[in-house]
């Protein structure tokens, strides 16, 4: 093993510097959005504390032996599942979702923690020495490992987080090398199930599309038939499951599918968020000078709508800077993942990338009005201890893998 004493060689500044800058921008935005809000005045202090804690977590994770991730993978996953079950029983309800656990006054979201466990578990399963990505069994098991936390999170219900998990599993399968047909088999039942929620015509149209694609793959009749049956089953099962839900839960799902149906709730936030960002202009209105932010037109702006503060007060320049920092981190992780020789570590890196990327696209897409309002935080920037610590932990893993990348050549 060759030892290189250059800092750059062991410590990836392309990961930590953009992330640290995002945390600082986030702190500024949290400060701005809470300064006129006496009830949440302490948010800045808390986030600062969590920021320091998360840095410590980052460095600890960075220093761990890289192999240890392989061994803690399964236990982390099982622990995550237990926590997700616990939250359904003893969790505290915050803005409609039972997603918080409290231990001696400190609350955290098990769904954040479950991201780590799920990445490890799926990556570990797919990188088994005898794994075969073309076997239906392997794909099915990987899906079950991934969908178990999704199901539990949906019960909270927390649609946004569940969505990031779905993305995570799909991209991990993709990275592992699933064939296009395999991807189709995995994706099509979800597509049909979602369509069936919109009504019978959507369901039929979705089935017809699935049929056409099936013909395109030219598989034998048995395979094609069973895949079609799977799709049909998914559609009907969704319908049965939907009917089994309480009317209150049904409304929640409907408003998730069609946010325009609730213009005073989610719709109002969407409009005010766009006004905040659009009115920022090129240079923004200046720190602490955004009237949409300072006059609290966007509720709980320091969490999911934090990007509005940046768009309004720091303008297009500030917004693009934030996007650029994210791009730096994400593309850097992609680069490390591509060059990583160990399959497990490569999959873990892609898992981390997906978590960041899906959060980023959904969160910013939602505040600029090209995505429905789905409440998920912006990594590193939004207020919230669990999210920050978990994201920095994931970044620590990426930095750790970078540190020891030459050991696996």
């Amino acid at each position: 093993m060759r030892i290189d004493y250059k800092l750059q060689d062991k410590f990836d500044l392309w990961l930590i510097i953009p992330a640290a800058m995002l945390i600082c921008i986030g702190l500024a935005a949290i400060y701005s959005s809470t300064i006129n809000h006496p009830a949440v005045h302490s948010n800045f202090q808390r986030q600062l504390t969590w920021g320091i804690v998360s840095l410590i977590v980052f460095f600890i994770t960075y220093s761990l032996p890289t192999n240890s991730f392989r061994y803690i993978g399964i236990s982390t996953y099982i622990f995550s599942i237990l926590l997700l079950m616990a939250v359904l029983v003893i969790g505290r309800k915050v803005s409609g979702a039972k997603s918080w656990l409290y231990f001696s006054g400190i609350g955290f979201q098990p769904s954040e923690f479950a991201k780590i466990g799920t990445i490890f578990a799926v990556a570990a399963f797919l990188s088994r020495s005898n794994s075969n990505i073309d076997s239906i069994k392997d794909i099915a098991i990987a899906l079950i490992i991934g969908l178990l936390p999704v199901g539990l999170i949906l019960l909270e219900p927390d649609m946004g987080t569940a969505l990031t998990f779905l993305g995570l599993i799909l991209i991990l399968l993709f990275w592992k090398g699933i064939s296009l047909f395999g991807l189709f088999v995995v994706l099509s039942p979800g597509f049909v199930a979602l369509s069936s929620l919109f009504g019978i015509y959507y369901f039929i149209v979705a089935l017809v599309i699935v049929l056409i694609v099936l013909l395109f793959f030219r598989k034998d009749l048995l395979t094609s038939g069973s895949i079609l049956a799977l799709n049909l089953g998914a559609g009907f099962l969704t319908d049965i499951a939907f009917r089994a839900l309480s009317p209150h839960q049904q409304t929640r799902i409907q408003s998730f599918i069609d946010p325009g149906a609730d213009p005073l709730g989610a719709g109002y936030n969407a409009i005010q968020a766009k006004v905040a960002i659009g009115s920022g202009g090129l240079f923004g209105k200046g720190f602490l000078s955004g009237n949409q932010t300072q006059l609290q037109f966007i509720p709980e702006q320091w969490t999911d709508f934090i990007f509005c503060v940046i768009g309004e007060e720091f303008g297009f320049i500030g917004s693009v800077l934030v996007l650029g920092l994210f791009m730096t981190v994400i593309l850097r992780i992609l680069k490390i993942a591509t060059s990583a020789k160990d399959e497990f570590l490569s999959l873990v890196l892609i898992g981390i990338l997906v978590i960041y990327f899906v959060h980023l696209i959904i969160n910013i897409g939602m505040v600029v009005g090209i995505m429905p309002i789905i409440g998920i935080p912006l990594p590193f920037v939004s207020y919230g201890g669990s999210s920050l610590v978990v994201n920095m932990f994931l970044l620590g893993i990426a930095a750790n893998i970078y540190r020891t990348r030459k050991n696996y050549t």
Binding site: G278, Q292, P299, L334
Partner: protein, 607 residues
């Protein structure tokens, strides 16, 4: 790690391009919103949070001719609550403090539920000072409760002036529609009298304060520290021609009676006093106008809201004899040496009685002195009806005077055309006899009578009667005088000298009003008693003083009183005393006298 490709494409390249495309899409979207559509969003954002609050300016005050304040602005207190901060368990105690029925506050709150809970809500206007003191004292136990000072009209000189000043009240929907660029719902606007006629001068210019409000319309702070605010400009102060002392005396003298008094400075047409009785208390309009008060105002058979000085028309009795005298003298029908014999009456078709017994042979001067009916019966036939009516018109009758307090009626003077229409060409000429002595179809207003006697006093020339001399420019403190049209009768001034001699004798000779003779001042006048088919006669007295250099001319009408000499003339005496014998040193103390520069050509007052 060996990753299988998709066709010839690496999986990492697929992910790489998906990431790049997503970033590109977000940047494009941000560019569109923040650069291309920035203006539209900025406008929405400003609309969201900046609210303009109109600042109602102070109305101009009214000063009398000596600078004494007649109509001012006084603070009135309004109880307000912010529903979001207010605790409804306070209702009962607050209701006791502001003296309203139990349940009043919850009713107001309920009626205004549709407004934001963060906007202060008016509970009651015009709460008394004791309640304000109580609110101050207990403010810490009264979350969301406050009071606001709103300015209302006050009348510090003790002048009632109901028909003169008018009052302010909330703008009507009609007016709001017509003048929507100035008024907003709930604004107070001049109603009646000077307040209405000079509304544009006294209302001032509204200000606008910009405040920042949050998403719940709760006030957060001033917008840009108030730099963009427009301050309101107080309305112009009006300098009235009213003399407080004369006005006060006239009001006191008419108390408990029905009638009207108008006093005019003959040389200028400036109104010194204008009173209509019965009157009403303008203070009732200033705070909360009670329903009982309004009901009484509009249903009282004596009609206190009716301005008798400009709106009531009556035959004015013997005061009208002067028309015939002036016409006859000016036309040369008679001279001072022409005498007519009065044997106690006059026969034309039927017998017309002269009052006070046979006067014997008398000329025009003594005919006026004695108010001899016989003389004037004869005279009108010599003049002819149409020429007589023409002279009445020249002296201001049957047209509106144009007085600047608005409501007015023209009255009526008959001519031959009028009678031909009613009776045909052979209309009974005997009708003319009663016209000569101011009975029959003659109908005139008190203000016309005042102008008429002012024209006589000033030898046929005067100005349109008016109450506003001008407004005071706030920056320079100069009086911007208003211009009024000159009234010229075109009658030989010598004629008026003769008539005035007769009027002098009415008071100072052996006439009908000798009881008001004064040592210090020579008064000239003419009494009148108009027959009233509905009750007691109406008493009239017109005149001027001093005889040598008239400074005040007046017309007094007391309805259903009896003889003019008994009921109307003594009021004149009191007014003359108040005006001409007032303590001169008092004038020196008045604050505006040294500041008002005379002869300043001011902006012309419209209407």
């Amino acid at each position: 790690m060996k990753i299988p490709n998709i066709g010839s494409i690496q999986r990492s390249t697929v992910i790489y391009f998906v990431i790049l495309a997503s970033f590109f899409m977000l940047v494009t979207r941000l560019f569109l919103m923040q650069i291309v559509q920035q203006e539209a969003y900025d406008e929405k954002s400003a609309d969201n949070s900046i609210k303009g609050i109109e600042q109602i300016p102070l109305r101009g005050v009214f000063l009398d001719r000596n600078g004494e304040v007649l109509v001012s602005n006084v603070p009135a207190y309004t109880l307000r609550v912010v529903p979001a901060d207010y605790d409804t368990s306070l209702n009962s105690i607050l209701e006791t403090v502001i003296d309203v029925d139990p349940g009043f506050i919850s009713k107001v709150l309920r009626n205004n539920r549709i407004y934001s809970k963060y906007i202060p809500l008016r509970i009651k206007r015009g709460i008394d000072f004791k309640a304000v003191a109580w609110l101050e004292e207990n403010s810490e136990y009264l979350p969301g409760v406050s009071y606001m000072v709103e300015m209302q009209r006050g009348y510090p000189a003790g002048i009632i002036g109901s028909h003169l000043f008018g009052y302010t009240k909330e703008v009507s929907p009609d007016q709001l529609k017509r003048e929507k660029d100035y008024y907003a719902p709930g604004d107070y606007v001049g109603h009646n009298g000077i307040e209405k006629q000079y509304e544009k001068f006294v209302r001032g210019i509204k200000g606008l304060n910009y405040i920042l409000v949050d998403s719940k319309r709760k006030e957060i702070a001033k917008y840009k520290d108030g730099l963009e605010d427009l301050t309101s400009t107080k309305g112009h102060d009006l300098l009235l021609s009213i003399d407080t002392d004369v006005q006060r005396v006239a009001e006191q003298e008419l108390k408990g009676k029905s009638g009207a008094v108008v006093a005019i400075e003959p040389k200028t047409g400036e109104i010194l006093a204008l009173v209509s009785a019965p009157d009403y208390d303008l203070n009732q309009f200033s705070y909360v106008t009670s329903r009982e008060f309004l009901q009484d105002l509009y249903t009282n058979p004596l009609r206190p809201s009716f301005n008798r000085a400009t709106m009531s028309v009556k035959p004015s009795g013997s005061t009208f004899k002067l028309i015939s005298a002036i016409a006859a003298l000016d036309l040369g029908v008679i001279t001072t040496s022409t005498t007519i014999y009065c044997g106690g009456g006059f026969t034309f078709g039927r017998f017309f009685k002269c009052h006070g017994g046979p006067h014997g042979s008398l000329n025009v001067i003594h005919a006026i002195e004695k108010s001899c009916n016989t003389f004037f019966y004869n005279l009108i036939y010599k003049i002819g009806l149409d020429r007589w009516a023409e002279y009445a018109k020249k002296l201001g009758f049957s047209t509106m005077t144009g007085v600047d307090i608005g409501e007015e009626v023209p009255g009526f003077i008959p001519n031959s055309k009028y009678y031909e229409k009613i009776y045909g060409p052979n209309w009974p000429r005997s009708i003319m006899a009663s016209l000569a002595i101011g009975q029959g179809e003659v109908s005139v207003t008190p203000i016309q009578l005042a102008q008429y006697v002012a024209l006589i006093a000033n030898n046929g020339n005067s100005f349109v009667p008016h109450v506003v001399k001008g407004y005071i420019d706030d920056r320079t403190n100069n009086l911007m005088s208003s211009k009024f049209k000159e009234v010229k009768t075109g009658i030989d001034p010598k004629v008026f000298g003769i008539v005035k001699e007769g009027m002098f004798l009415v008071v100072n000779g052996a006439g009908t009003a000798t009881r008001i003779r004064m040592k210090e001042i020579n008064i000239a006048g003419k009494t009148g008693t108009a027959q009233n088919p509905h009750g007691k006669d109406h008493a009239f007295f017109i005149g001027f003083a001093p005889y040598e250099d008239p400074k005040i001319a007046f017309a007094i009408v007391v309805e259903n009183a009896g003889f003019g000499s008994t009921w109307a003339a003594p009021i004149a005496q009191k007014m003359i005393q108040a005006y001409l014998l007032k303590d001169k040193t008092k004038k020196m103390e008045q604050r505006f006298i040294p500041e008002i520069k005379p002869n300043i050509i001011g902006a012309k007052l419209e209407n």
